[in-house]
């Protein structure tokens, strides 16, 4: 498989702190990747860098062979892309904004996603509960037909029935050749979905492995593997 995302020796500092340290990573096209790590390990930061929200890094990020920033932004749909949207906007206003700005935004897909989640487009962003807001964010994120989806803790604060619904929609709506990177600390929610697991710790990537390799060769669940890995590294440290 071709690599959709290639990251080389990525280091990122902000506010006099190193937030990512020498990260290298390749993500194949058409795969679902679990980005696992403690809070503060650098999951969100890595996604911010890939999405183009943060730019002052050293090293390189290449998406689908592109290095031009605006082009790259057009290839990535990040679940934090609605941050800063006016909260007095109705959901339909925001959808229209996306439809105007993003050529790959599919209004049909969006409407189906929104009806799957029973969202009312006449409501304002400020009127949504936390769970509804998550669902709206997922709808917008998946309605863009792009190469790479970055889902940062998409199930945070969502009960397990609704989690399943989000997962079903991710599976149903991601384009064939697209890849998804999901960060989560409830590993079990997404364990069935993953092609690969990327483990991030202390601001760098410490392992990348096929999900089935964990089960076949180590006879472990992904959660056990991830936790033992963290523990093991802790013990050595």
């Amino acid at each position: 498989m071709d690599n959709l995302l290639v990251i080389n020796q990525l280091t990122y500092k902000r506010n006099m702190r190193v937030l990512l340290d020498d990260v290298s990573l390749s993500i194949p096209a058409g795969s679902i990747i679990g980005l696992l790590g403690d809070n503060g390990a650098g999951k969100t930061t890595l996604m911010r860098l890939i999405s183009g929200a943060a730019t002052n890094y050293s090293g390189s990020i290449i998406i689908d062979g592109e290095v031009d920033k605006p082009t790259m932004k057009g290839l990535v749909s990040f679940s934090e892309q609605l941050n800063g949207a006016a909260t007095d906007a109705k959901l339909e206003d925001l959808a229209k904004f996306y439809d105007t700005i993003y050529p790959e935004f599919s209004m049909d897909n969006f409407n189906q996603l929104v009806s799957n989640f029973n969202l009312n487009l006449k409501q304002k962003l400020s009127q949504l509960s936390k769970g509804m807001r998550r669902n709206f964010v997922i709808s917008v994120t998946l309605a863009r037909r792009v190469k790479l989806y970055l889902l940062d803790e998409p199930f945070d604060g969502i009960d397990s029935m609704k989690r399943k619904k989000i997962i079903e929609n991710i599976l149903a709506w991601m384009p064939d050749d697209a890849s998804v990177i999901i960060s989560d600390h409830h590993v079990t929610d997404i364990a069935n979905l993953l092609d690969q697991v990327v483990i991030i710790k202390n601001r760098t990537i410490v392992n990348q492995i096929d999900a089935d390799k964990i089960r076949e060769e180590y006879n472990q669940s992904i959660e056990e593997y991830y936790e033992s890995f963290y523990k093991e590294v802790n013990d050595h440290a």
Partner: protein, 125 residues
């Protein structure tokens, strides 16, 4: 469907499809749902479904028709041997566990007969 996260998912999907065929939820010649649909129904990755299906095609349990999808084979011999194979696998697991406990083959048979008798009474009562 509930998966055991310690066992490769594609393997569990194969077992699931075997079972569907054996209990005749899927009949010879039936068309399987599209890959994407299976992925959504079982909430697993498309690649995982793809891998399970392609192994089933290799085993000739499924037949691929270009542009139409995957169908359960109509080769009855194949299906009979599939059932035999799956049942044998289950017995093998049980047998291995019991011999680990140093139960002799004759005793295995005794235990099994006794258990089945007891179970029959239980289920009827």
């Amino acid at each position: 469907m509930q998966f055991d996260d310690k066992v490769p998912i594609y393997y569990q999907i194969k077992q699931y499809i075997y079972k569907e065929i054996i209990i005749e939820h899927l009949n010879p010649g039936d068309k399987l749902p599209a890959v994407r649909q299976l992925a959504v129904d079982l909430t697993v990755n498309v690649n995982t479904i793809q891998r399970a299906l392609s192994e089933l095609v290799e085993e000739e349990v499924l037949i691929t028709q270009r542009g139409k999808g995957n169908f359960v084979t109509t080769d009855m011999e194949k299906l009979v041997s599939l059932k035999q194979h799956v049942v044998e696998e289950q017995i093998e697991v049980m047998y291995d566990h019991l011999t680990e406990l140093q139960v002799t083959p004759d005793e295995v048979l005794e235990y099994l007969t006794a258990y089945m008798k007891q179970r029959k009474e239980q289920d009827n009562g």
